[in-house]
């Protein structure tokens, strides 16, 4: 694997609120912001942190299914809505299901590395509350193989896919052991989200989170091996940040202390028409992680904190294992012992993750990068983790489909 030919920095991040059920102000019967409002809010949130938007060279927008959720295609053409200076700039839309955000980061980094741009604006967005959950499930099922598996699939296609993974884990490692790990993952996600005013679960007031997380799965009401608390919610929102070269950083009037440096990444693609090799492992994710470690020259011991793609609690546990921070089958215990909490050994998803913060699918990878940026420059507010000098690295994993499209990216402080 090649090393980066020059430093690439990320800076000026912004997240909107993750909006949907759970937020006090959410009312499904009332009109809500759409793609336009979210893209504009996130883009302007970035622009407010730089000297002059004219210095942005290009725009990249990550989105999964606006064509179906919002009847809107041609999303690259929504980037100039952010500011007139973006009119006629080159813009690209990328899509890789729920891993679209990760692909957007990867695309922006490549653009800077190739000297095409010094300053690339990466936006990620999804607005999903436009349809009822039963139809949203159809749309999100597009992350799987439509012709190969949708017909025989479950009403709630993706929850059922991860329910199968949970079932396989119960069989391999024991129901009580894994279930407890999943319940603790849920509880931790909510506890972290309660510290983050933009999180969808910020207002969550459930007293006994572990008992809630332990709710036995009911296949008649939902899925065979997971309950509704194991799932991230339906979310609307957007995130944005800038990727820049050293010159680019100067051009926009920021310094390295405002930025983080990309030290490695891995992007891996699995064949959508094939079933996963092994339900108790995320093999594509593992490959992306290995590539990122190789490029950055570090291993799990140097990682300070994680941003993993817990679209389902079981996915969170499997991602943790894929990072190598814990061994195969060890994540449930690691989480139940509190080691992934904000003040734990390996703080994970400190702003709530997909289960707690929310999951505006196509924008989640972008949101993870923004949160890593904020952690490493000390601007994560009540969600701030302690960054130790011997472990200054933050890793994100952005996953599309059932471990099909996976981007892993590692960052460190720029100074």
């Amino acid at each position: 694997m090649r090393k980066l030919r020059k430093p690439v920095y990320a800076t000026a991040g912004y997240n909107t609120i993750s909006f949907g059920s759970g937020r006090k102000e959410f009312n499904p019967k009332k009109a809500r912001p759409g793609l336009e409002e979210y893209i504009t809010e996130a883009g302007k949130g970035v622009i407010a942190q730089i000297n002059d938007p004219n210095n942005i060279d290009e725009g990249i927008i990550s989105n999964f299914m606006a064509a179906r959720f919002n009847h809107q295609g041609n999303l690259a053409a929504m980037i100039p809505m952010v500011h007139p200076s973006l009119e006629y700039k080159p813009c690209t839309r990328v899509e890789g299901a729920c891993g679209s955000g990760g692909l957007g980061l990867y695309t922006a980094v490549k653009s800077v590395l190739s000297d095409v741009s010094d300053v690339a604006l990466a936006i990620g967005v999804e607005v999903q509350n436009s349809v009822k959950a039963v139809y949203g499930a159809d749309i999100l099922a597009g992350a799987g193989h439509f012709r190969g598996e949708r017909k025989e699939g479950h009403v709630y296609f993706f929850p059922a896919k991860f329910s199968d993974r949970a079932g396989a884990c119960y069989q391999k490692f024991g129901y009580d052991y894994v279930r407890k790990g999943m319940a603790h993952w849920y509880a931790q996600a909510i506890i972290h989200a309660r510290k983050n005013p933009k999180a969808q679960e910020y207002h969550n007031s459930i007293e006994d989170l572990i008992a809630t997380g332990m709710t036995p799965p009911n296949s008649k009401a939902f899925c065979e091996h997971i309950n509704v608390y194991d799932c991230s919610k339906v979310s609307d929102g957007a995130s944005a940040l800038i990727f820049a070269s050293e010159e680019g950083l100067k051009k926009i009037g920021l310094t390295k202390k405002d930025a983080v440096e990309v030290v490695g990444w891995g992007q891996s693609q699995a064949d959508i028409s094939k079933k996963p090799d092994e339900l108790t492992k995320l093999t594509t994710t593992r490959r992306s992680v290995e590539k990122a470690y190789e490029m950055s020259g570090i291993g799990p011991k140097e990682l300070g904190f994680l941003e993993v793609h817990d679209c389902f609690t079981i996915g969170g546990l499997l991602h943790l294992e894929a990072t190598g921070v814990v061994g195969y089958g060890e994540a449930a215990a690691f989480v139940a012992e509190g080691k992934t909490a904000i003040n734990g050994e390996m703080p994970t998803n400190a702003t709530g993750g997909l289960v707690g913060f929310g999951h505006y699918t196509g924008g989640t990878g972008t949101r993870q990068a923004v949160d890593i940026l904020h952690q490493l420059i000390g601007k994560a507010g009540d969600c701030q983790v302690e960054i130790k000098s011997d472990r200054p690295y933050g890793m994100l994993i952005s996953m599309g489909g059932n471990d099909r499209t996976v981007t892993c990216m590692i960052f460190k402080p720029a100074v």
Binding site: V134, K151, E152
Partner: protein
Amino acid sequence: MTFDDRLKNVSIVGAAGKMGSGIALLLAQEMVTQKLKPENKNQIYRLHLIDVNESALDGLQSYLKSQLVKAGEKVTGMLRELYKEHADLIENYDVIDAFVNDAMSVLRLGTDLGAVKDSKIIFEAVLEDKDLKVSLLKNMEKMVSPDTVYFTNTSSIPISVLNKDANLGGRIIGFHFYNPPAVQRLVELISPESTKPELKDMALEMAKRLRKKIVPSNDIAGFIGNGHFLRDGLYAIREAKKLAGEYTLPGALYAMNKVSQDLLVRPMGILQLIDYVGVDVYQCISVTISGYLQGEDLKDDLLAKMTQKKVLGGQFADGSQKNGFLKYEKNRPVGIYDADKGEYKMFDPNGWSGEIDKKLGAYPQGFYPWRSLLMDPKKGEKLSAFFKNLNASDTPGAKLAKGYLKNSKSIGEFLVKTGVAKSAQDVNDILLNGFYHLYGPINDYV
């Protein structure tokens, strides 16, 4: 002929009304589910929806379509299974859409009563008017085959009277849905001796198919549900009249409505419930029941006056509440009818209604509104504690509530004593399941 064979051709007469439309939705769902079973692949299913009101039939069609979509969204897993052989129906949207289309294709809407001729089961849900019902039944008898059976949704007319007057030979049973039929789980089953035993079995099977809970009632006018509701409502109106000197009549009606909702922990006040059912329907039930029972006066001049002045309650086509005893804005009561002036007196928390609230006194400790207790697993304990405190309280509000509770209990006991209900449990079951009360009227709270 099996029950499933009968279910292939069913009619609802009075289908566009409030009860008929709900019954239509339930039957449409059951019939299309049968139709979609592989073993019934080439069978034809017909649900005839008949009503005299042509424009209401248009509304019925739209209502059924939108409700079938909602129903399909709730059983999408079952639909995916039912349509699994259809390679072209892949997404949830596809199977829900197919389900709605298949269900709509079962329906035949029209004004012609002749459509009933091939039906083996006929639901009768027309106005609560004995002469109308009898004449309709007689007309249908001329057209249908001799093994056709009738399910009547009458809420007050004795079934044996309809059977005798229309000369049906025991082919009619009382199958009384609660409003709205698609939501309320209760069906009051009235099966007098005249009813053929096989029809009772059919009714039990029908209840099972429509996922309804059956509570039997004897064939005495008003049955259990309206037997209690009518007397309960009349008690409130008559108490209000007694209190009129002190509170004014609108003020006293306001007080009784409030006490019956809050201090009796019911889903709505008694006058709001009468409005929901319809003042005219309520009046009609009171006249009907009075006609069959001796020695008890169940008519009221205020009801007659309101009906005459067309202050009727009931709902608009969109489901929102019409004004009756109470005036509504966004379905919330905002005023009370002053029958003498023929106008509404708006609630005024800083004026007259606030004064009455004060006069009724503070609520006893342990008070929770109905809604907050509905899903509470400890509601039994909480209600016991609250009613204990209510008994110990002597505020004017508590006194009215205690009188109300005692009267409600004595109505329940009267229904058992006079043989309308077979047991106290049946009375309580009706109020719990048909009226969404949190406790039965026959209790130890008073």
